[in-house]
């Protein structure tokens, strides 16, 4: 990279992706056809980035010649990638907008299960924020208005929460049970 000025352009974002806490891709968009054209290269890139970023919550990094801003929430990781010369704060604006919009849409439950349950909304949000690498909108309020998405038609009512919890508890005891079994077997061996 030399000091030569970047060609002025609206194409700011090279890629955006959301990974889960094992580094699996939940959603990813690459806007520059020259950057990692094949699926294999893309996934490889994502794994690399994930391995180097998921431990420390550092917000910004520079990897494989790209500026990467990121943010995590419970079991999700959000990444926005731009070129080395890109204004870091612009990328940050995109990341914040993405996160805020999803957070509003998912009623602050930014975690994998809720996200996947509302995947259609997530696709639409990303589509409203970035179009082909150009920042289309950076205000989360505007994004939510434009997407006009009704998150989960039957939000968790009191009753369903209780139901949910009992289910969880049952599962947990199941797990405990099987763990006990396993330990027993391993001792017997």
């Amino acid at each position: 990279m030399d000091s030569a000025a970047v060609e002025p352009s609206l194409y700011t974002v090279k890629a955006v992706f959301i990974l889960d806490n094992d580094g699996n891709r939940l959603l990813s968009k690459y806007y520059d056809p020259e950057l990692y054209p094949s699926m294999k290269e893309q996934k490889n890139f994502e794994t690399n980035i994930f391995n180097k970023t998921h431990k420390a919550d550092n917000e910004i990094s520079f990897l494989e010649g790209m500026t990467i801003v990121y943010k995590s929430s419970i079991d999700l990781f959000f990444y926005v990638v731009g070129s080395a010369q890109e204004n870091e704060l612009m990328l940050m604006a995109v990341l914040n907008c993405l996160f805020e919009s999803l957070s509003q849409m998912l009623r602050k439950n930014v975690e994998k299960r809720t996200l996947l349950d509302n995947m259609d909304g997530v696709f639409l949000v990303v589509d409203e924020i970035i179009d082909g690498g150009v920042i289309l909108e950076s205000d989360p309020q505007q994004v939510i208005e434009k997407v006009n998405y009704r998150a989960d038609d039957n939000p968790l009512s009191e009753q369903s929460v209780a139901q949910h919890i009992t289910e969880k508890l049952a599962l947990t005891s199941n797990v405990l049970q099987s763990a006990k079994e396993q330990i027993k077997w391993s001792i017997l061996k």
Binding site: L10, N21, N58, E88, D127, D131, E137, L171
Partner: protein
């Protein structure tokens, strides 16, 4: 079995993935539901989501199945469910490239784009433009123009951004929407402003005047969008760079005023633009540096990172400008984001004083293992720069580097360290032994073949000249025992150099060579046998020619001539002199030590410039039988910049001829030139044999014409000549709009500047890694010596540079660098004269009032010696 699955789901935490076990075929099966009446929006929505999810995961859809799903999806346009419709648009965009006949949705999309539902309009425009091609663009042009100036911001933004995407495809159509974009730029909505500005710039960027006007207009009216401001700053700095306007231009004032913008994004963009301007003075930098300094204490990591990264760049050119920030940078050393900490330290290393180096190095070594390879490379580069600045610190650096060399790390990182150590060794003779010792230790356990061979080569070059060369033999021979073929071969070559240079080591080297001759690899055995035989002769000249200073021919050239030779069997043995010489690699000064820059381009062995020329010239029938191309000069400008016609000349030297290649460019768009040739009038007894004209020279498309000249045979010392040049051609005037030329033209001519041929055009640079050996090899039979006084030259540096550029020879043994505070110096130059005669020059320089120079020339040909001495005089 079922239980097992449950468990697995539970293990992956609360977020088990409902899409995890999706099967493409099952989903496509489900897609048949689209055809049911009435449409069930909820179910269909779920299926579309699954399809998009699969596409996003990289699932491959065949054309037929994609087309089938796509056509089924089009039915969903009958439903009025908003989210479903929006997902249809997304599917259209995702499938635009994999399904056939996507254009069938054009009318549905056009209806949505012009309909009453504002929620649909923007996304419909974007989907429509995604599937539109050049031919169909005309049909929707009217709608696009309306949409660009629409009152609803999302519609206008969508239209503008889509137009921008389509500029690449059909520039001419989109260009017609400039007025609408102009109108949109004055919108109140900040995103519309930004997108309009971007589109306008892309449409006008080739017209500098229009861009300037646009910029003036917007800087006056003032925009609201911070994004638009960033864009304007970039446009302004590009304009400044292109026009080379001074820093008193209104453009610079604009950028500086942005330093006081209320948005951090804009302030940072402006500061970064100023920092990146070429030839920026300390006074202009100061305000930019002070805002960056403020950012250093921001709570936002991204801002701190941006600031310190930019300061790091400033520190490379203007370390003194950053000194004011030293305190803030010190605070960042302990930043939890290691990238920031690394950048802070490397910046401090550049700006700090010599005394702080030790402390910083200690600090950096405390966390160097935690940072990514990219940043480790930055650290190594900073150290490398530091060594040049403070040569006395090399011992600290060296031990630090050797520690880093022991740590884990990728190839790029290790290579940076090895390069750094090698450059320290070359710069500082005192550090040679420690450096070599560290490298020896490294190759004991080095997995990178490239680095191992590089180090072995280095050992072979430097090792024999150290006080105790014997201690390196063990390390080198260990390689022969343990490593892969390439490394073994390199080790054998290195051993041979020890044997050739140190007589007392020769017997043991011969013993080792004998063992290498038993190697399982052909190359290793061949090398060992060859060196063994050369060494046994115990002749200095042989050693010099075959061990120290290998072949100096270009490898692709050698391959081609050998191939040619096998095609035409002849009695004569193959003559090495017919092979074109390798152009000595121009040793690049590493002035640009880019931070965090890792070029991703793989290094390819590109054919050299000369090999390309050789190919081009060989394709011209008039130039057959001239033999191999000996040397091609750098282009010489024969016109001023920005004239009607731009002509530059490249001089190609052959054994007895020269070809002048004139690269001409016509900068007049209302003229077509034909039969362009350059008439040359020589001042000496050079004879112009041929002119090969360029048949056509249309506007802004460069073309070349050639002249072939025979060098005087009777007088080999006539090496310099001046040619007066005139370009002659037929002009046909053209209609500037259509570009069609008129039927008849007229002859015209254009006087060019004179072209000089000098002694440098007859000599090719050749690097002799061991000058002393080469000097002895040629011997003193044809040696001549003369003394000159250079009255006009004031310093030794200047004298050295003058001699090098005048003779066009390669300085050896780093003798082109004059040590400071010395008043005498010896310069060694090596080259090959036209016709394949080696020529070596030793120039002893002494500084008194002027510079006195004693030149000694040795060559294998007497004429050459005379030529050199005559031309120096």
């Amino acid at each position: 079995m079922i239980k097992k699955f449950d468990k697995k789901d539970e293990e992956s935490g609360s977020g088990s993935n409902p899409f995890q076990h999706l099967e493409k075929s099952a989903v496509l099966q489900e897609a048949r539901l689209f055809n049911e009446t009435p449409i069930n929006p909820r179910k269909c929505l779920h299926i579309l989501t699954k399809i998009i999810y699969l596409l996003n995961q990289g699932e491959h859809f065949g054309t037929t199945e994609a087309t089938e799903a796509f056509f089924a999806m089009t039915r969903l346009f009958q439903s009025n469910d908003q989210t479903l419709r929006r997902m249809c648009y997304l599917t259209i965009k995702e499938m635009a490239n994999i399904s056939e006949d996507v254009i069938i949705v054009t009318s549905s999309l056009t209806k949505d784009m012009t309909g009453k539902e504002d929620v649909y309009r923007g996304p419909a425009i974007r989907a429509l433009c995604r599937i539109t091609d050049t031919t169909m663009l005309q049909a929707i042009e009217r709608y696009m123009k309306q949409a660009i100036v629409d009152k609803v911001p999302s519609v206008s933004s969508s239209a503008l951004v889509s137009s921008l995407h389509m500029v690449k495809m059909s520039f001419d159509v989109v260009k017609r929407w400039v007025n609408e974009a102009q109108e949109a730029a004055s919108s109140d909505n900040i995103m519309v402003q930004y997108h309009a500005l971007g589109l306008l710039y892309h449409l006008r960027k080739n017209d500098r005047l229009a861009v300037t006007k646009m910029l003036n207009k917007f800087t006056k009216s003032g925009l609201k969008s911070p994004f638009a401001y960033c864009m304007m700053i970039r446009i302004a700095s590009k304009l400044l760079e292109e026009t080379e306007a001074g820093h008193d231009s209104p453009m610079f004032d604009f950028i500086e005023s942005c330093l006081r913008n209320k948005h951090e994004m804009v302030v940072y963009e402006a500061a970064s633009a100023i920092v990146h301007m070429p030839n920026c003075t300390a006074r202009e930098l100061a305000p930019a540096v002070s805002v960056l300094q403020l950012f250093c204490s921001s709570p936002k990591a991204a801002l701190r990172y941006a600031a310190v990264r930019t300061l790091n760049k400033v520190a490379m050119k203007h370390p003194s400008a950053v000194t004011a920030c030293n305190l803030d940078l010190e605070n960042l050393i302990t930043d939890s984001n290691r990238s920031i900490a690394t950048l802070a330290i490397t910046t401090l290393l550049k700006t700090g004083s010599e005394s702080s180096v030790d402390r910083l190095m200690k600090q950096i070594s405390s966390f160097v293992s935690e940072i990514s390879d990219e940043f480790k490379v930055v650290v190594v580069q900073a150290i490398s720069a530091l060594c040049q600045k403070y040569p006395r610190k090399h011992s600290v650096m060296m031990s630090f580097l050797s520690n880093m060399l022991r740590d884990d790390g990728g190839f790029e990182y290790k290579r940076a360290i090895v390069d750094c150590i090698i450059s320290i060794i070359e710069e500082n003779p005192e550090s040679k032994e420690t450096g070599l010792a560290h490298l020896c230790e490294f190759i004991e356990d080095c997995e990178h073949t490239v680095l191992a061979t590089k180090i072995l080569h280095m050992l072979g070059k430097e090792g024999p000249r150290t006080p105790t060369p014997s201690k390196y033999i063990r390390f080198i021979f260990n390689r022969v025992v343990l490593e892969s073929e390439a490394v073994r071969a390199a080790a054998v070559s290195a051993l041979a150099k020890f044997g050739a240079q140190n007589d007392d080591l020769l017997p043991s080297v011969l013993v080792l060579m004998q063992r290498c001759m038993m190697d399982s690899d052909d190359e290793v055995r061949d090398r060992a046998t060859f060196y063994m035989n050369v060494l046994q002769q115990k002749q200095k000249a042989l050693n010099a020619a075959y061990i120290f200073n290998g072949l100096s021919v270009s490898v692709p050239g050698l391959e081609k001539t050998l191939h040619q030779y096998t095609l035409e069997p002849s009695e004569k043995p193959f003559d090495m002199k017919t092979v074109p010489l390798a152009t000595a690699p121009i040793t690049e000064q590493k002035t640009e030590i880019a931070p965090v820059a890792t070029s991703k381009l793989p290094e390819r062995l590109a054919p050299s410039r000369q090999d390309i020329y050789q190919e081009q010239l060989a394709a011209i029938p008039e130039f057959q039988g001239l033999g191999p191309l000996f040397k091609s000069s750098e282009p010489v400008q024969l016109t001023e910049a920005e004239t009607e016609y731009v002509v530059r000349c490249i001089k190609h030297t052959f054994a007895n001829h020269m070809i002048f290649q004139f690269d001409c460019t016509n900068t007049l768009n209302d003229q077509l030139l034909q039969r362009v040739q350059v008439q040359m009038e020589p001042s000496e007894s050079y004879e112009v044999l041929h002119n090969v004209p360029a048949p056509n020279l249309p506007y802004s498309q460069p073309n070349s014409c050639y002249s072939l000249v025979r060098l005087p045979e009777d007088d080999p010392t006539a090496v310099s000549c001046t040619f007066s040049c005139t370009m002659k051609y037929l002009v046909r005037d053209c209609d500037p709009n259509t570009g069609d030329p008129e039927d008849d033209g007229y002859d015209d001519e254009y006087v060019l500047e004179d072209l000089e041929v000098t002694v440098a055009d007859h000599i090719q640079k050749v690097l002799k890694p061991n000058f002393g050996a080469a000097w002895e090899e040629i011997g003193d039979e044809l040696e001549k010596e003369e003394t000159f006084a250079l009255a006009t030259v004031r310093t030794l540096d200047e004298a050295v540079n003058n001699i090098i550029s005048f003779l066009g020879m390669q300085p050896c043994e780093r003798s082109d660098k004059v040590p400071e505070n010395k008043n005498s110096h010896v310069l060694f130059l090596a080259g090959v004269f036209r016709g394949g005669h080696d020529v070596l020059v030793r120039a002893r320089l002494a500084l008194a009032d002027g510079v006195t120079m004693q030149v000694t020339v040795r060559s294998t040909d007497e004429n050459v010696v005379d030529v050199i001495l005559a031309s120096v005089g």
